[in-house]
Symmetry: none
Subunit: 197 residues, 4 copies
Amino acid sequence: MPKLGMEPIRRAALVEATIHEIGVVGTLDVTVSRIAKRAGMSSALAHHYFGSKDQIFMAAMRHTLTVYGAEVRGALSMTKTPLERATAIIRTSFSAMNFRSEVVAAWLNFYVLAQTHPEAKKLLRIYQARLRSNLTHAMRPLIGARADASADRIAALIDGLYLRHTLGGTSPNPEDPVAVALGLLAQELEGGGRDAG
Amino acid sequence: MPKLGMEPIRRAALVEATIHEIGVVGTLDVTVSRIAKRAGMSSALAHHYFGSKDQIFMAAMRHTLTVYGAEVRGALSMTKTPLERATAIIRTSFSAMNFRSEVVAAWLNFYVLAQTHPEAKKLLRIYQARLRSNLTHAMRPLIGARADASADRIAALIDGLYLRHTLGGTSPNPEDPVAVALGLLAQELEGGGRDAG
Amino acid sequence: MPKLGMEPIRRAALVEATIHEIGVVGTLDVTVSRIAKRAGMSSALAHHYFGSKDQIFMAAMRHTLTVYGAEVRGALSMTKTPLERATAIIRTSFSAMNFRSEVVAAWLNFYVLAQTHPEAKKLLRIYQARLRSNLTHAMRPLIGARADASADRIAALIDGLYLRHTLGGTSPNPEDPVAVALGLLAQELEGGGRDAG
Amino acid sequence: MPKLGMEPIRRAALVEATIHEIGVVGTLDVTVSRIAKRAGMSSALAHHYFGSKDQIFMAAMRHTLTVYGAEVRGALSMTKTPLERATAIIRTSFSAMNFRSEVVAAWLNFYVLAQTHPEAKKLLRIYQARLRSNLTHAMRPLIGARADASADRIAALIDGLYLRHTLGGTSPNPEDPVAVALGLLAQELEGGGRDAG
DNA sequence: AATGAATGAGGATTCATTCAT
DNA sequence: GATGAATGAATCCTCATTCAT
């Protein structure tokens, strides 16, 4: 019997390497060779396990969303009050794991990919729906019907803060994204906001 | 008979073609040949005028930002009250011209480019600073010191709505980005929001 | 518990699978993996038994020629008259077994292989010599010295009909190869043909 | 103005090189690089002019058939009697140009290609139909209704002789294909052959 | 001013083959 | 006996870029 059970290990290594490389290059213009090398194997083996570069990307994307989803669920499970829930969702979005610059770079490029790739688009939409749904459920007990519009704003703000973070890097970045997002949350919960204009 | 003054015409055609192609492909993976063909010339001529693909992108980026800036200035020039100013800035960000799907796609990809390309990063930061500055100035007379934090939130929200728009497309998209953004503006102006938490 | 006598079974399965795959693809561009999979084993095992792809091909070739030879001998053994012999040879060449489209495809590709591969060339020459010899012996009693030239023509005609069969497929194929070949046989036996011109 | 009119020259060179390489390798497993190198250019340029390896093959095929067709027409134009026509067709099939070993190798491989490639199949069928038609027309004045069956036999024989020629090469090849084919022609014209049996 | 011609470099993908277990 | 693991080598194809005219 051959050396067995390598597949999940290899796949995980490739997924991790993919996100890392996207972070380094800032683009989906990463070569399979580089990914494979970083994952400690030949590019041929990468193809053996994933079939195509495209599917490597999709796996990386699914992994990123899964990790995010798991972190959110974990954080929510430790909350008691609605306010804690809303706060937890926001904090998780900017947690050390999810807000690593390479992960943020990957997110950005997944949005690019989604424009062409239906499956990628589907995944991002699922993420968005879940984020909105989580926020709405957390806020409904606090502000009732206004929760939907509030969730919309907070969700979009989070995405916007991600986007801005890609530019961040070296400069002395004064506004902490978490603070900005929690600031909005506080405001949403506070008073009789009406929608639109 | 060399046609005089061809240069600006050619350059403009290339810039427009570039944005269009980015919109079509959804990526910066557009070939110079395709851009040139769409602009009605050979790829060699495109290189003659711009030197490299990179510089074509930068020109397209500058053009996009310039158009946006001009629209904002134009809109602001027709306002009287602070509220009108703030509203005008938001509306312009989603104007027919700036919110064309190809332009939005281009924006997204400019963020990708900015991760690698210092000049691109600089341009995007200028845009962000200007947007925040415009918003702050508009809102200061209305809410005083809170204007800075408010501007931060609104600016980030606008970027987030752009990002979400790239996924939009076919589905029945219920929330109008303009409404969402104006909704936040209304809320910001309304009450005693405090920052962070 | 090592299964005994697996080797001949495995080899036979591989040979059969090879011919089948050549028939499917129409080319020698079949992968060892596909052959092995069809034969119900890993490609590594295929190499274990045959050493190389090349030798798999050679085995398939030998098998094809062997089957053909056996069928001819079998058919000849049931004949009484020279005419029956000649007829039997021709009919066997187009028998259900030998004229299966996959076998014909294999033949064609063996000719391709023979251009590079000395062993393959040798095998095909043996086949040709045997065919000519069989035909000559069958016809000599009937037309004497003319038998040699007649055999040449019939043998070449058979090959030509094989070649044409590879194109056959879907269209309403009017001329039955057997009829054409037997038509030539009849003509050869009939009259005072002289050679050349 | 650039160096102009290279295209037809390059294409012709590539087609010629393709046939040559097929002759050398004996297979369609020729690399575009080798073809291009033999044609004196980079493989990139070969792709520029033909788009794909496949289309290079198709061009080579069309060229081969065209040359053959032209030679036949030329030969026919210099004939007076039906017998001369039939003879001319046969001789042309084995002319110095068409029966070059590389061309014969190419033919063989075109048959292989035709099994997968519909366009290739179509071309070969056209060739076959034309050959049969030419032969039938030439022979009808001489043997009336029997011309069809005769043409079938002669056409198939010619293909068979091509096939055998691929094995030819070094050995002392006693039977001259032309003699064999003309021998059949003589026999066909001679007597009251009936079809089939 | 303008372009066809031309290429070097690079990347995804495939595959026969080997090896450790 | 049997196979998953693994890779080096090869090949098609694309593209930014240069150049002669």
